[in-house]
């Protein structure tokens, strides 16, 4: 059975049909990628999966248990953690405290929180900056902090929202390694939204391509890059979208 299954998910914002009848399955232990141009509905999908917004229709099952109608903080309690596309550190807290807050929910036993946070910072490569104010971190470090805080909730499923956005190539390589390591060494199941195609294709085992809120293709990275619909929706846009 798949760890997360999404069935016929639907969400409208007024006249905008942001997510249209999306179905997908995330298998235990895989890295599933979600591909799509800007505004395709990827972040809305994350918000639906994590209870930040409620869908109009459809079903989300984690290990067979419905996540619909469960408050966002309780979804985390069930083992689904997310990062945000724009980094949102707790301003006024140190890097270490930021990570500790991730372990203060009911899912994690409240022992050795500081030690645990130090270990996570070590893992994401922020060990030397534990006592720095979080608002002083560089963009790349903020990404690592986001991931460390998400890991502090001890998730079974990690949802990463454009983790490479705004990073330089060196930082991207390091973060790719970290994601690969979380997957291979800890067996973490990861759902990944990303725009940086090259790194994305190397990381994921399966891809779901989305455009205008709909699934337009599903397959391995090799299949997806040859799919004419994907090329039209995503790669085709590269001609005009210089920023991507």
């Amino acid at each position: 059975m798949s760890l997360l299954s999404v069935r016929h998910l639907d969400k409208r914002f007024g006249g905008l049909h942001a997510v249209k009848d999306i179905s997908l399955e995330v298998q235990q232990g895989e890295i599933l990628g979600i591909l799509g141009p800007n505004g395709a509905g990827k972040t809305t999908l994350y918000n639906l999966l994590t209870g930040f917004i409620k869908p109009d229709n459809g079903e989300v099952l984690l290990d067979g248990q419905s996540l619909l109608g469960i408050a966002s903080h309780k979804v985390v309690g069930l083992g689904v953690a997310r990062t945000f596309q724009l980094c949102r550190p707790f301003v006024g807290l140190t890097v270490l405290e930021n990570v500790m807050v991730g372990s203060l929910g009911p899912r994690v036993p409240a022992v050795d929180l500081e030690k645990r946070a130090h270990r996570l910072l070590d893992q994401v490569g922020l060990a030397g900056k534990a006592h720095a104010p979080s608002e002083l971190l560089s963009y790349g470090d903020l990404r690592r902090l986001e991931i460390a805080r998400a890991l502090a909730t001890e998730p079974r499923l990690l949802l990463l929202d454009e983790p490479f956005a705004g990073l330089g190539s060196g930082e991207i390589a390091a973060l790719s390694d970290l994601i690969r390591q979380l997957h291979s060494e800890q067996g973490l199941t990861i759902l990944l939204i990303e725009h940086k195609l090259r790194e994305f294709m190397q990381l994921v085992s399966q891809v779901v391509a989305i455009d205008f809120g709909q699934v337009i293709a599903t397959g391995t990275p090799q299949d997806i890059v040859k799919n004419p619909k994907v090329i039209e929706a995503y790669i085709g846009k590269q001609d005009t979208d210089y920023a991507a």
Binding site: V76, G77, V101, L104, R149
Partner: protein, 312 residues
Amino acid sequence: MQLKHIDRGGALVAIAVMAGLPLVFDSRYLMGVLTVAAIYGIWSVSWDFMSGLTGRENFGHSLFIGVGAYAAGFLNTAWGVNAWWSLPAGMLAAVVFALIMGIPTLRLKGPYFALAMLSGAVIMQRLMLIFWEYTGGEEGINGIEPLIRSPLHFYWFVLGMLVLTVVLLGGLARSHWGLILKAIRGDEATCQAAGLNVTYYKIASLVISAAFAGMGGALYAHYQLQVSPQLFAVVTSITIITMVYVGGMSTIYGPIGGALLLTLMTELLRNFGEWRLMVYSVALILILFFLPQGLVAPTWQKIRHRLAGGQP
């Protein structure tokens, strides 16, 4: 480790000075001023615990103060209950109002909580006038018994309650609980993504804050031996917020200094006659303009670092 000892030493010296002042200067007037300052200290520390830590500003702390004071007044005069029941009764009444105000408004983002607290206090002030048969209208409730006959002993008791408030709320603020409240000030959505029930923590911290404000209200009722609708006045809430800012927001101990400073300043400026309010306002504006972090807590931080030998 050393900084901890310096903090403890500083606190003991401050308590000793506060407790000893009325023994050195034998003046009823000074004792009155210090008693009021200590009660304001309880109010501003309790405000700082909720609003300072979570960043959700409460513009109607006087609601909890007034409710606590009236509960004390009612029990003591209308029902003749022993004065010592006033403190738990004042706390309980304020907690009930914290739940009534907090549950609907703290779920929402935006200014609803601040506005609801502001209007809640104003509405209660009006209700005290409308239901004058029960509340005494403008006159309020008179003839409340003193808690302790000797003004000096009452002052020491109030000081003790202030110390208790700071120890309890300061301890909570340094615990994981306080960390969660500070994280809520940072970003609510990220707190939810960390698995924290943000609404629960906000309401619970308001309840705790209200309990201590209500207790302070009951103490004030037994100091004035009278309660009036003026207790609900917006100006009381604003004064408390100013004390917190001058003392140093979200430090818990700083607001006591702010309360002491502002209460003393009000009294010392009496010589200025009708210029008093203006001098007071200008002094406040200057403090807040040049020291946005406050005056008391940052000053203490500097002193303790110097005492510790310069290391930060």
